[in-house]
């Protein structure tokens, strides 16, 4: 099957999905800091103000708690708001609204108050933005019941997951890695709505299952190429959705490769990789030939200088080293 594709960027794919939603559904509107006149701090929403006007592309004052809460209220009131928080770091100011309201209202009201709200935020490091602009907290957010957490790594997913988020009756937090916005590639025109309950195997391989998502996916694929030359074949799973996790795909892969390596850009202790590792152990312990391993970010506030930032983040080198260590364990 040869799908029709068009060349674009991750940023443009997001913008296209936003435009499409604004065009198709009068209930959709955008709200966030500098999304209008400024064009969005990462330029995702550029030009949308001119196209859709001030009522639907709403620049907000600097008040994360109020506009996220207003998004919740608007969702309760029949709209389909898409709220942009510039980066996950600032989302902490709105965490009360996210956890105590968005994630809680549906259950607490016995189903009367679903909150069909989409919150988009940038995440991740790699641009030397230092300790208050570089954290990856999406794995941490995945702890919260009532939320759905998605992290598109590909151009198709950037569009398809936003589409899916808008169809979802639950609050969906969408995390866009700052390293991906400029990524160029093909958009599959007919790809449609993404399935936000399933992980995707981006590379098949027999020796180790690598569980990852977002920008780390590309480091894992690079490591896989390097390791392949040494005869080690990685199977790379792009989790795509961090809550709920797709146990079926994960466990099936691990049962086959008998080894699981987790790679994520969050801090290690209590991060998403710990959860993944536990699930593997709980569900496939006797299938494992080696202890599960994880490659995460060093447990430090991300420092500014490049050499320290690089040292803190999961690198291809660290992934390769972990893989070698894992195959060294003979069953």
């Amino acid at each position: 099957m040869s799908a029709s594709v068009s060349r674009t960027t991750y940023r443009e794919a997001l913008r296209g999905a936003l435009r499409e939603a604004l065009t198709a559904d009068p209930r959709v509107f955008l709200m966030g800091e500098d999304i209008g006149r400024y064009g969005g701090c990462y330029a995702v929403t550029k030009s949308l103000l001119a196209e859709f006007g001030e009522e639907r592309i709403r620049d907000t004052p600097l008040s994360e708690s109020a506009f996220v809460g207003a998004g919740i209220g608007a969702a309760l009131g029949g709209m389909r708001p898409i709220v942009e928080i510039m980066t996950v770091n600032f989302s902490l100011l709105a965490l009360d609204q996210i956890l105590n309201n968005a994630a809680t209202l549906c259950h607490m009201s016995a189903g009367q108050c679903p909150v069909p709200l989409v919150i988009r935020m940038a995440t991740g490091a790699g641009r030397q933005l230092a300790a208050q602009h570089s954290h990856s907290l999406e794995g941490w957010y995945a702890h919260i019941p009532g939320l759905r957490i998605v992290a598109p790594a590909t151009i198709d997913d950037a569009r398809g997951m936003l589409r899916a988020a808008l169809l979802c009756p639950d609050p969906v937090l969408m995390f866009e890695h700052i390293g991906l916005f400029n990524m160029e590639g093909d958009l599959t025109e007919a790809a449609g709505v993404a399935d936000i309950e399933r992980a995707a195997i981006r590379r098949t391989g027999r020796d180790i299952t690598v569980l990852t998502y977002g920008a780390s996916l590309y480091r894992c694929l690079e490591a896989a190429t390097e390791l392949s030359a040494a005869g080690i074949e990685l199977e790379v799973v792009d989790l795509r959705t961090l809550r709920p996790l797709d146990d079926a795909t994960i466990i099936k892969s691990v049962r086959r490769t008998r080894r699981a390596l987790m790679v994520d850009e969050g801090w290690k202790s209590g991060g998403l990789s710990a959860e993944l590792g536990m699930r593997v152990v709980e569900q496939a312990f006797f299938d494992l030939d080696a202890p599960v391993m994880r490659v995460c970010t060093a447990e430090v506030p991300i420092p500014y200088p490049k050499h320290l930032e690089d040292a803190a983040l999961p690198s291809v080198g660290r992934i390769v080293a972990a893989a070698h260590a894992m195959v060294a364990h003979e069953p």
Partner: protein, 329 residues
């Protein structure tokens, strides 16, 4: 404060207002007893003394308007029309409760009446009300959102953020500050450098008035004016209702922070007593009306207790239902 405009209300409306206030009073008095009997558990915050605020404001709202309240929301729920049976069942935690029993006293929801809680994070309801109002505007409808909160919430950042947002965007939110002078044990003057809350709100650029929150007619009139202005396309309005809570903050409060004498002084201005006296003086109602309404309220409470006690628990198997919405759209 706004001068109280002499206002001709007629016997029918007088009876209605009194009946609503009495329903709340009797319902809550029963709840307090049920709490000591351990039929109601968790935190229980009573509205005793503040009934005129909820009842007054609700008169100004239509069916399509939304209401957002706090953890002290039995009065708002009843005045809004949440059936007493469902409310009492919620206090008991039964599945017939307005939130299926999951919320309890602090989290009453009734979406069929646009009653959105029941919010137990101080200040947390304000942005939600702004969003509900925004939705009305964006949908081209003329509904307003009424948002109740205490004077303690005024110190929270969300108060500030939301008042600005609502004023800036001309959202039809009626902010109702129930200024009962205390936030738990903290007197207003111990939490605000400037204690004039109406003035504070006005500084955000929206009409703001203060009324005697013990006077149901004054509250009603002020709310009517605000809602009318908003229906005509006006932006947010602020209403400070000066009131007092006669009972403890919750069932755990020894009230070390205020004098008994102060409470007694305020009791003389209680909303039920003053309204009844006034209506009697005007010949609108008679003592027997009062007694009849009180009996009716008690009967309704009795029935609600019966209903609650006869209701089932939600099955444990359903614990994880509604963490996510069902069915998927």
């Amino acid at each position: 404060m706004e001068p109280v405009v002499a206002h001709d209300i007629g016997r029918g409306h007088a009876l209605h207002l009194l009946a609503q206030m009495l329903r709340i009073r009797q319902f809550e008095d029963r709840c307090a007893r049920l709490y000591t009997e351990q039929k109601i558990r968790g935190f229980l915050h009573l509205y005793n003394g503040e009934e005129a605020v909820a009842v007054g404001v609700m008169q100004a709202l239509g069916v399509a308007d939304s209401v957002v309240a706090t953890y002290r929301e039995h009065g708002h729920a009843l005045a809004r029309g949440v059936p007493m049976n469902a409310l009492m069942a919620e206090m008991y935690g039964r599945r017939t409760g307005s939130s299926g029993g999951r919320g309890g006293s602090m989290h009453v929801f009734d979406v069929s009446r646009h009653f959105y809680g029941g919010n137990a994070i101080v200040g947390g309801g304000l942005p939600i009300a702004a969003g509900l109002a925004l939705a009305q505007r964006l949908r081209g409808l003329d509904g307003v959102a009424a948002c109740f909160f205490g004077e303690g919430a005024v110190a929270e950042g969300e108060f500030h953020e939301t008042l600005n947002l609502a004023a800036l965007w001309h959202l039809p939110v009626l902010f109702i500050c129930e200024n009962n002078l205390y936030a738990m044990g903290t007197a207003l003057a111990r939490s605000e450098a400037i204690t004039d809350i109406r003035a504070k709100a006005a500084a955000y650029g929206q009409p703001a008035v203060a009324v005697d929150g013990m006077d149901v007619i004054a509250v009603e009139a002020a709310a009517q004016r605000a809602v009318k202005a908003m229906r005509g396309g006006g932006g947010s309005h602020f209403l400070e209702c000066r009131t007092y809570r006669f009972r403890a903050h919750s069932m755990f409060d020894a009230q070390l922070y205020r004098d008994k004498a102060e409470v007694e002084e305020w009791r003389k201005r209680g909303p039920l007593i003053t309204f009844t006296t006034r209506c009697k003086a005007q010949g609108l109602i008679a003592e027997e009306d009062f007694l009849r309404l009180e009996r009716q309220a008690d009967a309704e409470v009795d029935a609600a207790v019966m209903f609650a006690e006869g209701s089932d628990w939600e099955p444990v198997a359903d614990l994880e239902r509604y963490v996510y919405a069902e069915p998927r759209a």
